[in-house]
Amino acid sequence: MELKELQNFLMHLTPISHLQYQVWDPDGNRLYPDSEQDIGDPALSQAIQSLTTKVLEKNSYQQDLFAGRHFICGYPLANGKGPLGSLIAYEAETGAQGANASAAPRVWQHTTDMENFLASLAKLLQESWEAREEVNDLAQELDQSFEDLFLYGKIASQIKTLKFSDAMLQSLISSLLINLRADAAFASFYDKPEFNTLVAQQHLNTRLRTDMSFYQQLIDAIPAEVIDAGDKYFVVNRSGSNPTYQPLSPTEYRFLTVRIEHEEGFYGWLGLVSFNMNEIFRQGELQLLVSLAEQLSVVIANTNLYQDLELFIINMVKSLVFAIEAKDVYTRGHSERVSRLSMQMGRQLGLQGDELESLRWASILHDIGKIGIPETILNKPGRLTDEEFEVIKVHPAKGFEILKPVEQLASSLPGILHHHERFDGKGYPNGLAGEQIPLAARIIAVADTFDAISSTRSYRSAKSYYKALSIVKEVAGSQLDPKIVTAFNQIIDEAGYLVGEVSYAN
């Protein structure tokens, strides 16, 4: 019941009762009827006021018989937190009976009834106020749960991405900072310090304007092994009473940090720092942090698995490359050189990310199909017969077939299949021309041609790099894409490739 409703209630009660009612606040101000309203007899008002003071002082039912005629009684109003004032009932008019018997003090018949009535009314009010406060508190909690849920949802969707990245962490830590109203939020990793992330509020208040070194010292001071090994978190509620953490900052702070760990190990900490000492870390904040740390650990474990898988593929590819080179003695190092040149051209031509990665695999594996070509043909000194050349020509298609089952290499297959196409359409296997030929294949073709001419092949000895470059330029437009040859030429010019690269000659 709001005070206003209480006023209505009393207003309706007055005409049917011979008593008048008042409500006072704890500071001695009359709330009902409002303080402007004159209630008549100033002496009576005085008596009521002193009774309210007594009610509040003793915090119990009080009564008085003013001038021997007017009965006054009061009862304290309170809620769970403290006094809210007092509820007063009194006789304004004593009626004809009172006037007649002016000499004799009146006897009030209903003292106990009155006390019971006021007590039940006060209790009812108290319960309704408490219920209202409780509803407000619950709504506040619900509000906070919404914020937590929102944050959790947002982060969960970011975490769906398999790979753990700087940008993902930055965004996660910033969300934590804003939504949990902390002064700083951080993630710190033992094995991956390059991913350490710290986001701090920029305080206008100079007292709280803390330099980043404080946070770093704080993070460094977190014990690697928490006191109780079973604990998933570490909390310091008041730095002022902690000898380790007090010296780090003249301003008192509190911090909460949870372990980022997985079956496979302990990765680091996810934490919050706050200078607001009027609040403490909520259970909800702890739970949210623990859940996020669990999610993060899964991402890290996945990233590690992903990296292991990537490494596995790299090693597998290396083995395949060794296999070709073991067969074709003249092409030792060829795959790696072609790959290196192709990557340089790719970057020069503006490729990035996945396109560049596809080019890497395509270029290093472009000759993998030679595994299926007889060694007698591959290693034959001198010119090949037409029949032998037809056998050689199947190697791009063979390479494509060999690698087709490897899902991770799907985007590299076109580069492998078409690296012997010619810009004028006279190449193999499909006779594609110009831009019909995949870009990766056109790039590999330039690198492959240059390396074939400049290194020793079974059928001719190595020509000098200058000579090789001039041949590459000559066939631009017929065999090779002139745009890519231009890019190639730029790389050679910029790197001083032909002069400096000693290892290239080997």
Partner: protein, 128 residues
């Protein structure tokens, strides 16, 4: 004209409650409706400054409500915040076609909703 009035339209009571408390705390007057039909008559009678509405509701959904109230904005505009559990690509299309209408995903942050209202209506101190 001192206080700003918000109308919260959602068939889930707890969502109305959260927003009600959040906005009342900022001194806003709050009206509530549990479907588009109720909301429509409240908007016609009271012309709130902000309407926050769910999309999926019984009787009349939030999309219909927004489309029907959009012509009222010609006279005196107001902010409409549409919140939905799942933003479908076509939602962006109709929301963008309406005046002063924003789309947000559930679970939403009550704080973020309040910020959107403040950036539209100004800070509470400027409301007087």
């Amino acid at each position: 004209m001192t206080t700003k009035t918000a109308l919260i339209v959602d068939d889930e009571a707890h969502i109305r409650r959260v927003l009600e408390v959040k906005l009342k705390k900022e001194g806003m007057q709050v009206m509530m409706a549990s479907n588009g039909q109720e909301a429509l008559s409240l908007i016609q009678e009271n012309r709130p400054d902000v309407v926050i509405t769910d999309i999926n509701m019984p009787i009349m959904d939030g999309k219909t409500l927004c489309i029907q109230t959009n012509p009222l904005k010609k006279e005196k505009t107001f902010l409409t915040i549409v919140v939905t559990a799942r933003i479908e690509p076509q939602d962006n299309v109709w929301v963008n076609a309406l005046q002063d209408t924003l789309l947000m995903e559930k679970p939403f942050s009550p704080m973020e909703i309040l910020q959107k209202i403040k950036s539209y209506c100004g800070e509470p101190t400027e409301w007087n």
